[in-house]
Amino acid sequence: MGFDEETTDVLIGGYLSAEAAKEDYESVRQCGARLWGAVVVSKDLEGELSVEQTDHLVEEGAAGLAGVGFVVGLFAPPLLAATAIGAALGAVGGKVLHNKSSTQIEQIAGETIPIGGAGLIVAYKHVDADQVEQAVTRAVKKAVGEAEGHHVKALKGALAAAQAKMAEQEG
């Protein structure tokens, strides 16, 4: 089955530490699944952004994750929903991006990732879903979207679906 005809999954995960996100990032990379790509974005306590990514799409001759515009929409965990003095935290506001260049990732992610937080996005074949999802053990929130069709469009669609699911969890 060709790349354009496969079902593509995108998993997004939110973290409260860069270490946890990077641990899952490494775990995903070593899980044996064929990844289209993965990116982990984190911001340290001084506000400095860090981006790591593996971009197998480039090898496939496609536009790549950066071209698709993967920037993490990191969603905050619902901290206070059940307490006497709290209300649910809203989403920090994931941004679905449109064809940003890789240098723009940091700019956009800088607005999206909270200080001290981190996010992970992984794109992979749907047939490898079990392997990938089981490798992501530390996300405080995660969601998976899927889509079919042309690869760039599919990735965008899957990302949007994942973000929508994440937003529903916030509710």
């Binding site: 409260l16 001084e46 901290l79 003095i85 709290g86 209300a87 200080i115 001290g116 405080v140």
Partner: protein, 804 residues
Amino acid sequence: MTVQDRAHLPIRRPSFSGVANRTLQGSKPDWDLIGHPVPPEGAPNVLLVLIDDAGFGNPSTFGGPIQTPNYTRVAEQGLRYNRMHVTALCSPTRAALLTGRNSHAVGFGSVGEFAGGFPGYSATLPRDCAPLPRILKDNGYGTAAFGKWHLTPDGQQGPAGPLDRWPNGWGFDYFYGFLGGGASQWDPVLAENQKIIGTDPAFYDQDDPHYFPDAMADKAIEWLHGVRGQNAEKPFFLYFSTGCSHSPHHVAESWAQKYKGKFDQGWDALREETFARQKELGVVPEDAVLTERDEAFPAWDDLPDKLKTFYARQMEVYAGFSENADENVGRVLDAIDELGELDNTLVIWIWGDNGASMEGTITGSFNELTMQNGIPLTDEMQLQLSERYGGLDQWGGAMMDPHYSAAWAWAGNAPFKWGKQVGSHLGGTRNPMVVRWPDGIDQAAAGGIRSQFGHVIDIAPTILDITGIPQPETVDGIQQAPMHGTTFANTFADAAAPEFRTQQYFETVGNRAMYKDGWWLAMKTERIPWVLTPDALKPYAPGVWDPDASPTELYYLPDDFTQAHDLAADHPDKVQELKDLFWQEAEQYQVLPLLTALSTFFGMVPPIEDRTKFEYRGGVQNVLSGMVPRIYNHSYTISADLVIPAGGAEGVIVAQADHLGGFSLFIDGGLLTHTYSMMGVFVFRQQATEPMPTGDVTVRMEFAADAAKPATGGEVTLFINDKAVGSGRMDHTVPIRFSGYAGMDIGRDNGGVVDRSYDDRKPFAFTGTVKKVVFDVQPHLSGADELDLHTEAHRGHAAHGLSG
């Protein structure tokens, strides 16, 4: 020398007995005029040591896993008391300890922060209950207190006082420590006598940083040396009240490292190990039974394996922290020994002002204030947040304010049930005590165990008994109420001495017990101590809760050391008898109304303060955390009048607390910036897009809340000379309190900083001039909003207080 009338304090100076003629011719001096009161002949020194938030099963001296060689040496040269009791909460125990009276009777039914509107909860010492340090001081003792105080209401911890509620006002000649219920051990905001002196400058020394437990011992030794340098005879009363083992659990890694791997077996196995050692030592009778785990605590074996390292690390740090406290008390003991006075010093050392604290909730926390602010974090979240602030290796470091899991506390209270706040059970109320006094305890008896039932109210009468000082009839002309405690000095020589306390009530946050002649009636509310949700509180609302309908448990302690066998069903008459007796005692000692500590949750709040603007001029520093303008849960503004020199300025304009909860308004790189830390979980930062002008400049930060409600989100706008220059959203704000100890500073950010980007320049003092900073906490509120928020604020106050 004239006889000193010790019944009326202060002791009156003798009248002039000499002769004063018109000239020196024929005049005769009376040198007694310049004398001062002296204690009775032979009165010993007194060292009273109180450890914080620790359990019966913590120190190795009582079979616990924490190595306490100094506690053991005192015990082996003196006596262990294995049936000594406290009140299950910090301030009440301290008030009872220092007054010899039941805590409610002296206004401390709850914590010092919480000044309630009923006599038993006013947090204000009655003038007819002069405390022990005042009595000793007026009788010629040198008196000093070091460490945790926790007997001054929150709003009274500044230069406006009233200062009679500070340690000096209780009769201590000298005080060095902190006024609140807990403090960082790395950057505490300290008080010395009647001044808040802030964080020790050594905090900034990376090679040899300030560590409060060490400093406490240093200061105590320095004080002793000073007293002896001046007066070789004057006996001293030294109250050494450690911040340890209260959270935050701060200690150098070398101490925690001693316990690496020592708790990998988990809390269930740890209890069993402790219990076995307790029997070997004889501090628990051979026929005692280890109580069962309540379902509120998870079984260790049920935890995910990947998180067991996280949980074990929490206890490793707590253990190292506690052993360090033992070490520092040992330094004080050594200093007294070097003076040649240890044998004539009565040492009374209580390991815990209540049982170990369960306020870390089941998960434990990287930041103790997350629980008080009602932020439910899973253990995975807690682990990740600890990683954010340096990882588990830094759990005891300055980047976190950690508290361990409630289950570790329960294990530390072995062999009993429950812990701190639970006055109905021994896990909250029975703590180890050792007494050493070679000049007064026959050394043939050294190393012995005493098992008479005692209470912390018995300490002061015992000290007075030994020193030969009577309880005063009047102090400052005010007739004194008698102490409720009884001396137990006769137990020093006689292990079989009769019981000196046959009856005692206990009450903490509605958890009650009545002890009489060996019988103990336990009446615990069904609320889990660390849960303050509306659902958890609903059953205790006025008109809903019937205390007499609460579940009861009955134990006969002479046969059941641990409270393992509930006899209530077999002895209904005894249950009723003790219930009735509890109500009598409750009325006599001002315990009523029950649940005053939670009254704010049921609509009983103090009058709303009129003041809505707070103005700080000049370099005001170290405004304690309970006195910071109430900016929580609604809109507010912070404005500042600045003078910016020609070359520009940088630094902090105003900052409260630190990166684990707080805010900072500062200029960096020429840009006005506001950083807000929501308990270290979320950090929001807004920055101006235009540079700061020079000359006289007014800056303002406005927070427009989405609604006047707890933890509201809202929009931040930054202004320079009334022009909006930056903005940003804060999705979530702190609902109750940024910090339990860190202060607010004008023109700098003392101690740990709010925004880590200027940590390398801390305290990042402002290089221009801050003429004044003004908080307006009521720019947009309606009257209805204000009452709601006032109520929420006091609920938060109560929640914070219960962790004291």
